[in-house]
Symmetry: D2
Subunit: 341 residues, 4 copies
């Protein structure tokens, strides 16, 4: 079975494992206050051009989303997100479990628009019973989105401006940020994102690490007592240095960007392969997730040798499916897939 279901099928990039082995018997204090975390944070601050940023390492995405969001909102506030947003669809009651509504808005190509943010905010503000309605308290976007689409620099700047206009903190979920940055047509950089967002994270789990997400808070005073909040949510890893070591390796010699580029190159190959054979797609994606439309028959045939995710019915005879590449995908496997379709 050759797997394309997701981008967390394998372990970690060998350089990470090697560093874990090398440092294994070092003794460090726990909970992320060790020199490895400090070094990794410093490298991230440098690449983001945010010399003062607070950088925190958490284990996984749901944990990170929940901890960031509940650290920002007041009890009567909710978080604006597209309907397809991860926090709205795939984290059970994680956000609601902290007392906040996900204010879901239909997106355009999986993306929020400044107008949708303004409309939602003004709908609350102008309602005669606004005190009885959840106040939009922040904005959540993902780069890339759940459907593989991308915010351009102009789009994110417009969203950021709208957020500032209504004093809505902007949070960017970067579980797949590396793949987004490496995609054709992405004119955003880490320093751009750091300039435009109040908080964001750089995904590790799907990007070459065993696990881990690096939260960047450009203005370190933006969130008070964040470490206690991480601890409370069960996200403060005892051997925190494991996160520091991994991100240190990822941000040494541009490894993070090289691995992302690798995944994008192979995704483009898959995309072209399907296009060349006349397949349609659920949506245009320039990132490591591709969503071709397959007939039930094709799905059954492919399933014998390949695994991929089901994204629901396209029409009576076809379904949307997802093929993911990652840092670990091999060209050999991609070739086998393209031969099979």
């Amino acid at each position: 079975m050759i797997r394309f279901d997701c981008d967390y099928l394998e372990g970690a990039h060998p350089a990470i494992l090697q560093k874990l082995v090398e440092t294994n018997m070092d003794q460090t204090i726990g909970y992320g206050e060790d020199p490895y975390c400090a070094a990794a944070a410093e490298k991230i601050r440098k690449v983001c051009q945010t010399p003062d940023a607070a950088v925190h390492f958490l284990v996984g995405g749901t944990q990170t989303n929940t901890t960031v969001i509940y650290s920002i909102l007041r009890p009567h506030e909710g978080v604006l997100a597209v309907t397809t947003g991860h926090i709205n669809c795939h984290e059970v009651n994680a956000i609601e479990g902290t007392g906040h509504k996900v204010l879901a808005i239909p997106g355009e190509n999986g993306k929020l628009t400044p107008k949708a943010i303004e409309d939602a905010y003004l709908a609350w503000k102008n309602d005669f019973s606004w005190e009885h309605i959840v106040k939009p308290g922040m904005v959540y976007v993902s780069q890339s989105t759940e459907t593989g689409t991308l915010y351009t620099k102009a789009e994110l700047e417009a969203i950021s401006s709208m957020c500032k206009k209504y004093k809505l903190p902007l949070f960017l979920d970067g579980a797949r940020l590396g793949y987004a940055l490496a995609a054709d047509g992405c004119d955003l950089t880490l320093p751009d994102i750091a300039r435009l967002c109040d908080v964001f994270y750089i995904g590790g789990t799907k990007q070459g690490a065993l696990f881990g997400e690096a939260v960047v808070i450009p203005d370190p005073n933006f969130i008070d007592s964040f470490r206690s909040l991480i601890k409370q949510r069960g996200g403060l890893l005892a051997k925190g240095r494991l996160l520091g070591i991994q991100f240190d390796v990822l941000f040494t010699d541009d490894l993070y960007f090289k691995l992302s580029q690798h995944a994008i190159d192979l995704a483009k190959k898959i995309k072209k392969g399907f296009e060349d054979k006349g397949y349609d797609f659920m949506c245009e994606s320039a990132t490591n997730q591709q969503f071709p439309i397959l007939s039930y028959e094709q799905i059954e045939r492919l399933k014998k040798d390949f695994s991929f995710d089901d994204y629901g019915p396209a029409d009576e005879n076809h379904r949307y499916v997802r093929f993911c590449t990652s840092w670990a995908t091999t060209e050999e496997n991609v070739n086998k897939l393209l031969e099979a379709i």
Copy 2:
């Protein structure tokens, strides 16, 4: 100013006030364990034909909705409701504050359908990542709905069957239940509702009481330790007998039903008055809420003497508005309104 904004503009029916005055210096123990609550509960059990039901008295609707819903759901579950449902729109983060998502579904005429319930349940059950998705854990309906529409007996029976099929407890918000029962075309009775729902409440606040909602749990074992949960949510009134006294009066000599009929008769008069003058309506309502469409000009003119609620723009030149009647509305005031339009 003559007010039609809502159905809680005045105090209580005089018979209630009189009974409060008469019983004022009686000494009773607190928190609803007094003889007045016992008597009122017994009358409610009788009129619902549920001899074993647990009956609890709470102060207001948001409190009641929250307490009932969080008493039923497990942490990973949410409550299915129409998008326009009160719990989705007008209770801030009350439900989310207990850790649960409101799984909002577009309704038909403000109502849930059995198919929508089934679709939502199966969408969860059949998703390959169902463990990452909020499980539909119960169903919330209102009678009448937020837009004044009504479930027929056949409709509620179909919903109840669907709920049983998927083991989803059914909860009916009856903040305006009396008005619904009195409406033309409503073939549901209290015993029907008690037979079809796992829990429901009989509204007092909007129906002639100073305040108060009577929760009926036909199978008294359905919710464990409900009194502690009410206390925890701040809903266990110290002088609980105030609730008992009010519901005792309301359910003596059919007062509850008579007051409801009064409101419906005047609502029909308002409806006919608008219809006769050619006004259109946001929706067809047989209950005490009427939603005619008025021009901005008409609104400005009427506003000098009458108050009513704004329900948003209908088109460029018109808006939806709401006129409510209640047990306290006078024919005289309705006549003045009809003269003015």
Copy 3:
């Protein structure tokens, strides 16, 4: 049966009922934005000498405690209170239900001391793993306390200073504030309390109203969006004017203070009666709650004609019990009790 179990055995002072009857058919908008609430708030601002204060009316004590506390604390913080504090003992998981620990400290005579506050704060601050420990985030005191004792002006000033030193907001639960202010030896006034506390409430439920607690926030900017938080917790009464009317009456012609004095006078009579017959007390109380120590035999005998609360075993043969007076207690009933002991 003559009842002394608590101070919420009867309805409301007749002047309140009369005003409710008089105003019954007035039409007002809901949720506390009516002229009655405005008038009552103004009277309370005047008597507290806090011209800018925000004044909010809620229905009951648990609701008020919960809403105030969760409006102030960040997620990693808890509220300091004496072990016997109402929020620690008698509100189920109300505070914890909003995500916060009650940091209970043994009191002296039921009271917090500045030293205990400082010790608790420094124990957190100086712990090497402080980020893993609930941060003391505010202080909760009651006047009078659960055991009927009183903070003197000097004591409350010392607590307030300590709170300021460590930036801990101070919240005073005044469910029985009137009785406290009327007690011999209480040198605190409402303006003192308004000067020393960040938020406090003036109890109505136990002090002559049907129900209701008036929250005073001397600096109106101290809590943001408090009305939405009240709504969310189910505490925003639809017919809010019922609260305004009651507090308006209570703060007209010093009725609140006169009713309190009445209860205190009768409590002193009870106290003296027990003292004269040689009874000991659980604690020295100058307020409307008296806690004599009775033998099992005496309890059994008295129980035939009088009701009172049990406060647990004093020794093998005796128990602590509580007799409460209130605005509604009659001298006649007190005399009967004193004859019986």
Copy 4:
């Protein structure tokens, strides 16, 4: 610097790292549904002699405690634990964040007693206002405890019987379970624990793994939908196989027990070393945590070369400190410590 501060100073046992390296490029589906997790679960079921048990792998202790406890309790319930329990002291508001009070009871040598459980339960049950009080809903114990003490088989059986008597589920925190099982005088085995507890976990983080705790639920139906609850709390690791691989290695060829024995042997050596030189201890511990009493002077001197944890003042001139051993502690470092004291 030679570190004895805690038992999570190093990475993982080399056999674990080696297996991670070997399996690194295998492709598996995520979230713990891979063959490695299945194999590890099977080994744990075997060693616990619980063929039907559900076994789940989580990342860390606070996460595990919170997820288990909130999966069991109803909203009005709390968890009984000793005052020094980890959930009461070192997890911020984690438990309260799910709505539940930690009902802290002073322990004996850091341990709960059956009598303390019964007293707490009956104090609730017999209180006249029990509906206003948090109901003891389950019992939390740790083996070993926070102070390194141990429950004997007789003690845990007595606790388990008491729990059954009052229908209180029993949950055992086994973050240091291996060290406990290896300690002199511990007559409990994994099958005993599985027989006596409703749920428990086998710690990995402090016992040779990079991270990870294995939750065992002997009756797999005891907790419904546990995987969704883990996901909701952010504890469902994307690359779940990392946990499976680690526990598979730990439960192959008794590695878990051998590593534990190693730590205990060195702890005994430390203990004897201090005893021989006349030091007193905070408490008698047979496990991998030793708490000698040192003078301020000694502490200052030792701190230059060794790190250890501070446990607060013993008297004016002395403090309690903690030295931990682990699977990774070397005899060489222990010898250096003993020379230094």
